[in-house]
Amino acid sequence: MVPVTFFLALAAILFCIGLYGVLTRRHLVIVLVCIELMLNSVNINLVAFSAIGPFANITGQVFTLFVITVAAAEAAVGLAILIALYRNRNSIDVIKHDLLRW
């Protein structure tokens, strides 16, 4: 049996890769993709705990479902914003969009 810690480690790795992607990539789509990746790593944790965690029960998986719905909604809205941004600023470089400041 694969011990839970392996899954947790994998999830951590994926999460950090996603985080690095969000912080550094300049292409907005990639940033959104990396966010999805981070959410995914959370799901791995949830499912891992629900399946082979210390108090294994179904709630982990139910939560994964919720996370997925949120992720989907977030992706949709993210892309909509991306498109609107592109149309107004005709650029999807993260650095260009710095209007929200003091």
């Binding site: 969000v22 912080l23 550094t24 993260v94 650095i95 969009h97 710095d98 209007l99 400041r101 003091w102």
Partner: protein, 666 residues
Amino acid sequence: MIQNAWLIPVFPLIAFLILLFFGRFLKEKASYVGIAALALSFIVSVLVLFERIGGETYKFVIEWITFGESAITMGYEVTALNAMMLIVVTLVSLVVHIFSREYMHDDNRIHVFYSYLGLFSFSMLGLVLAPNVLQLFIFWELVGLCSFLLVGFWYFKPEAAAAAKKAFLTTRIGDVGLLLGLVILFNQTGSFDYGVIYAAVENGLINDTLITATALLIFLGAVGKSAQFPLHVWLPDAMEGPTPVSALIHAATMVAAGVYLVGVMYPLFLASSTAMTVVAYTGAITAFFAATMALVMTDIKRVLAYSTISQLGFMILALGTAGYVAGLFHLMTHAFFKALLFLGAGSVIFAVHHRQDIRDMGGLWSKMKITSVTFLIGALAIAGVFPLAGFWSKEEILASALLNGDGFLFAIALITAFMTAFYMFRLFFKTFTGEYRGGDHDDPHADDPQVDAYGAADVAEADNPRDDSMDKEAHVPPAEDHDHHHSPEENSGFMTLPLIVLASLAVVAGLVNLPFMGHPLEGFLTEGLNLGAQPHGALWLAILSLVVAGSGIALAWAMYYKGAIAEDFFAKKAPGVHNLLLNKYYLDEIYTAVFVRPTVAIGRFFWEMDKSIVDGIVNLIGRSTSSTGRSFGRRHNGQLQTYGLVSILGGIVVIALAFVLRGYFG
């Protein structure tokens, strides 16, 4: 009548209040209010004097302020000394009131003038009646205020305004010394009353360093008020005020207050020999010093001003050399003949349309008979010629200077007596004899150093462009209407009557303390005070003083009447000295350079320092907080990813901290 001696100062106070509120309506008749008030005071003070001679004294005191257990009281007291002073002050003030009715006749602020005169008489009489040193100090300052107001009466003249401020400030320096003296005295003796202080001094309650200190501090007050050597600079400038003011304040009463103060606090001075020598020497130096300057003055009022300073120096010298009665006797006689001289000068100035330079006068003997005769009597009196008052009092002072043992003081006194005779008669001959030199209108001596002090600003000058328009109606009518008969002639009764009264007094006053009548004044003044034997001069001293006075008059006669010696004989011989005297030993310039300019400089330095450093720090704190805030603000560059990074780093720090604290790494 002695109980209601308090009426004496109250009459002029009522006059002051009436004129203050209703002066505008009275206008011309304001003088009657003033004269009436002073007449009443004079009558009451004469009655009080008679009762006082009968030996009665009266003291009435009420509680003024209490702090802790001790209390300060106020009230009034009649003693021998102030009974005499009451007569002198009320008489001279009455005479001046009458004189100035004519002199200030055309000034539309005459009611204000009389209200100030009333306030002055009130505060001077209050000073004299004060039962304790504090009340004396209170009225002392009020007198200073009145002199400030009266000297600055023609306030639209910048010189008058500056002179008024200078007078108040210089006397203020003396007053602060006096205040310190009496505060220390209060702390030592627990009260301000004369009796308590005399008792404390007698039975040595105060250690003698303190006695000398308080004596000198109190003497500093006298120096300030009686214009003695270091603080005398204000009196000549105070001549900017109207002449009746100079006669009343700067000749007879106020300046005598300093001598009165030393007289009143005499036991304190007697107790410390150093104080006595300081007093004596200050008096001598001032007398000599002022007399030298009087020799060269060309403005009639300034000559008299310096002569006042010199005579006051004589009085202080007398008091310094244990001649208590001599000093006070001279104070009384001097009050009369100096007031006479000033009023005489006033009537001369009024006659020659307000020009004060004696080189423009001359030959007035024939034109102004009464003024000339009375002026001559005054001059003889001050010079110390035989029958007149000046002879008796000055001889007493010379005696006290001689008996004091210090030859130098006696010598100085003699030389000053000679100089007094000389400059008085120089003035007399220049003004009254020879031909009238005041014919032409433009002022020939505009460039003369003293003239700029007053000449240029002399308001009455027809061709004076500067503030001609505003002051026309304010001060004195333009000289035009005097033009048709521009040669001066005798003034009306209001002016000459006072002159006659004072002249007769100058003659009679000496008899009060006749040696061969057993010195009645001395008996009157010293009873009840153990001041030791009063010095009396031998016959040869009387003759010596007569000779000195005579030679002074003769020299003046030779130079200015006969012309045997050229007028500027001395000026040519010693131009340097002449120039030095002319510029009043450059004292004003020295004082400004030594005191005024550095204080202002220090003030400016502190002001800059205050603005830049103290305020700077405050503003710095303000600015630095706002600038750090602004610099943090600039970090927000809108880059989302930078924010993300910063929050992650923060997160890491927190997690690491949690690990460490929870001992994970255990």
